[in-house]
């Protein structure tokens, strides 16, 4: 899964999708995942990064990440390859 290109995100969590004109707000963890996606990382790489960084149960991190990705896909922010 790849984030659509040209998606703009600010440090404050405001995200703008120029294809649809929709905007979103994200919390800091959300911003971080978007940045990883923009950098072309895979879900597995992102998960490993989160596990390394955060004090949280591995399975919860996994569940939350996939839930978040589901939301990105629901909002059509991902390229379907």
């Amino acid at each position: 899964m790849k984030l659509k290109s040209n998606i703009a995100i600010s440090e404050n969590g405001f995200m703008f999708d120029p294809y649809t004109g929709d905007s979103y707000n994200l919390n800091s963890t959300g911003v971080e995942i978007i940045k990883h996606l923009k950098a072309g990382k895979t879900n597995e790489e992102i998960l490993a990064e989160l596990k390394r960084k955060y004090d949280a149960d591995d399975l919860i991190l996994e569940q939350n990440l996939y839930d978040f990705i589901t939301m990105l896909s629901h909002y059509e922010l991902l390229d379907n390859e």
């Binding site: 905007s23 979103y24 994200l26 959300g30 004090d55 949280a56 978040f68 939301m71 990105l72």
Partner: protein, 455 residues
Amino acid sequence: MKKLKYEKPIINKIKAGVPDKYGMQPKIVVKSEIDGIPVKEIVEKYGSPVFVISEKTLRDTFQQANRAFQSRYPKVQFAWSYKTNYLDAVCRLYHEEGSWAEVVSGFEYDKALSNGVPGNKIIFNGPDKTDEDLKKAIENGSFIHIDHFDELYSLIRISQNSKEKAKVAIRVNMDTGIYPKWDRFGFNYENGEAWKAINRIMLAENLELVGLHTHIGTYMMTATAYAVAASKLAELAVRTNKKFKHTIKYIDMGGGFASKNTLKGAYLPGKDTCPTFDDYAEAITSAIINSEIAPDQLPTLFLETGRALIDDAGYLIGSVLANKRLSNARRAKILDIGVNILFTSFWYEHEVYPAEETSQQTEDTTLYGPLCMNIDIIRESIQFPALKKGDLVVIPRIGAYNMTQWMQFITYRPNVVLIDQNKKMHLIRKQENLKVFKEQEVIPDFLLNKTPLKD
């Protein structure tokens, strides 16, 4: 390297038009303790879900209401509405505060007696009183509030053979300018039925008309309707006095005061719009004082308010069973609190609070109960933070009706705990178990001692 504190990733779409921005979002209120006892501790000891009653809130609220009326009127008597919450511990607290008992069935009547309430401090209301009930009430000197002519004639018949005079009042229904009009209980004022009933009682040898009673509706958001009702009852009292030289001893204004819950369909929250005890008291007492009743004959004012007294003292604690995404990606949570124990969620938008600090971000969420039924919805839509399985939630302001109208369905009804004023917890109703239900059931002989599914 020290790991960082984690927060679940969240993305919310900004809808043009709808305010759901950080700047706007209210701080999430966390309800981590009840009367100084951590919610977690309550659940560790008594399980989840669990009902909690706060003695302090119960007494404070009662005293507030009592003060509102006592400071405006010389003779005031509250009677605890058993149907609102008839757990013995709760009833006894109100009796300790000086409340009489207001009951609407033989079961509630016996419960009041068993709580040590003398018969002459019980008000017996409602359309369902058996002849046995009536006999008992006459003997005990209880106040019988007559609902319909059939009951009036039963009483005339029964009282003929009794040594004691029956102390009676009639329940009056009337137009107070509010909708819906409750005209199914008692005798109507406008069409003259109430006056007819009074006349018939005055002719009956063994009935003594002691009071007039009304109960204009439930969840009354306007105090003025009570002023209309009180002046109509006062008018009946004056008329009775003129014709029969008989003094009415009390006027019973019933209940129906709103609690601060928000009704479904209301635009503004209940805590902003609900009248205060002072508003109700001012409306009722000034209507009676300004009526034509002679000052030396002012009747005692009875009040049977239930909901407004107990709602705030009750809490329901539960926990998250699961998080879900619905097919349209909407966030949903399943709680272990179902509509069977939180009946009032059918008409209130109950507040629901997390019991622990959470992230400040929220999602528009549906809160479901655990029953395998589509109607089991606690909140259709609430801005709610992310909680994980097992996290606790607290629903405040649920003390009225839930612990009487609850249904046993699929599983047992939970423990009810009282927190006393010294922050001590007491179990006041035990969670049901299989034995409780087995005891009520009888298996016919022909089905006993058979085990058809065993090989």
